[in-house]
């Protein structure tokens, strides 16, 4: 299985562990991710103004570059997925915008590339049953909360890789690794996204609500596929960590995948995490991560 691969800006900077755990896991699973020769930041948000085509320029360049490579395009970050899929949709459906954007970037692109999230490959190409057979260090019932957030699911008709209100792909993935997926009502709620950069805290932090809800259902770990969700849920717990209170590590789903596939801690790169994930792995005695702190 060979795919073109779009890393996006954050995986090369603050979310290195997301990429390193993915690339190592994919190698074990026989999935070859070939990085695009030419790519640039997707813009992180899809424009919600119908009269503005400028923000479509950079994602369309990336899509046109993937067309030349002639393969389906895989991405890991929920925001990149959202922007690339929605841009692809506009280019396919809106002839005026297609013409305008393609003339500007001097490319011939009309939406030929299929954009996929890694979860779709695990579910639809490899299959979770087959994935479960490749697991060498199962998590032995570790209670894990799947956090979807917004960008993987909405808008459902353009992006949705699953049911927008009641998704299950991450839970099925977690079950394949031997985890016990925790059901909680906040799994598709917004974490607050870029509003974290606005001065002043909201009266009720949306990220805190998500974490508390997952914790109240017994979650010991939260998984996500969005670097900003990872940050917000982690950052919302900074106070708890300082006070020595019980905090829940927030990790990328591929970091659990790497552990389950028996890969070593060097591919996990937990450096930037606020709530130390190593303690959880130690407490459940998962193979390959015993030395993590």
């Amino acid at each position: 299985m060979v795919y073109s691969y779009f890393p996006g800006c954050t995986l090369r900077a603050k979310a290195k562990g997301f990429e390193s755990s993915t690339l190592a896991s994919c190698e074990v699973l026989g999935v070859c991710l070939e990085e695009l020769e030419e790519w640039q930041c997707c813009g992180a948000t899809f424009p919600l103004q119908i009269d503005n085509s400028f923000p479509l320029v950079s994602p369309t360049r990336t899509l046109a570059s993937a067309k030349k490579a002639g393969r389906e395009l895989v991405t890991l970050c929920s925001a990149c997925l959202n922007v690339l899929k929605r841009t692809n949709h506009v280019i396919r459906e809106d002839l005026d915008k297609r013409e305008k954007v393609c003339a500007f970037i001097e490319e011939d692109y009309s939406g030929e590339v299929e954009v996929l999230h890694l979860l779709e490959i695990l579910r639809d190409e490899i299959g979770f049953e087959s994935l479960a057979r490749k697991v060498v260090s199962p998590f032995a019932g570790l209670p894990v909360a799947a956090y979807y957030g917004c960008l993987l699911l909405r808008p459902p008709e353009e992006v949705g890789i699953d049911d927008p209100e009641s998704p299950s792909v991450l839970e099925e993935f977690l079950s394949a690794l031997g985890c016990d997926p925790v059901e909680y009502p906040y799994k598709t709620e917004c974490c607050g996204s870029y509003v974290v950069l606005q001065p002043g805290e909201p009266a009720v932090s949306p990220s805190r609500l998500v974490v508390e809800s997952a914790k109240s259902r017994g979650a010991k770990v939260i998984v996500t596929s969005c670097p900003l969700c990872q940050f917000n849920l982690d950052y919302a717990q900074s106070g708890s960590v300082e006070r020595g209170e019980n905090a829940v590590p927030v990790v990328y789903f591929t970091q659990l995948l790497a552990v389950a596939l028996g890969l070593g801690e060097e591919v996990l790169e937990f450096d930037g995490h606020i709530v130390p994930p190593g303690l959880i792995f130690q407490s459940v005695g998962v193979g390959g991560c015993g030395g993590l702190t």
Binding site: C9, A13, A44, L48, G192, Q198, L209, L228
Partner: protein
């Protein structure tokens, strides 16, 4: 407030509809958007109240509200609206009305250094797209 055709149908409102692609009068004020919004604790007006103001032509009042800057574009409202209106597009059209002449609502110099050190790049790119 005295309502008249002139008060309700303003040029400003037409512009918002051009930017957002949404017909603001199509909202029937069921409140589902506000019920499911994750950010209401930081808002001064609920999302459906912003739409109601626009329906009545009170664009300036909507522009002055904190709500449009607290919206995180998570699209929960848009995905759930029984009228199929993308409320998130309307919020963005209000932000755009403020930003397009060159104003901004996020000053990079005011982001605390400790936060800047740890926040993912994705947040910075998104925030500067939304707030400047």
């Amino acid at each position: 407030m005295k309502l008249s055709r002139e008060v309700i149908h303003t040029e400003d409102k037409r512009k918002l509809q051009d930017i957002s692609g949404e017909e603001i009068l199509s909202c029937y004020q069921c409140g589902k958007c506000s019920a499911g919004c994750a950010m209401t604790s930081a808002m001064d007006l609920l999302p459906h109240q912003v739409i109601r103001l626009l329906q009545l032509g009170q664009v300036q009042e909507a522009l002055d509200s904190k709500t449009i800057w607290v919206c995180a574009s998570c699209l929960a409202c848009s995905a759930r609206c029984p009228r199929g209106m993308s409320l998130a597009n309307v919020m963005e059209s209000l932000r755009s009305t403020f930003l397009r002449p060159g104003d901004r609502c996020l000053n990079p110099a005011e982001i605390p250094y400790e936060l800047l050190e740890i926040v993912p790049e994705q947040a910075l790119v998104a925030a500067f797209r939304k707030y400047t």
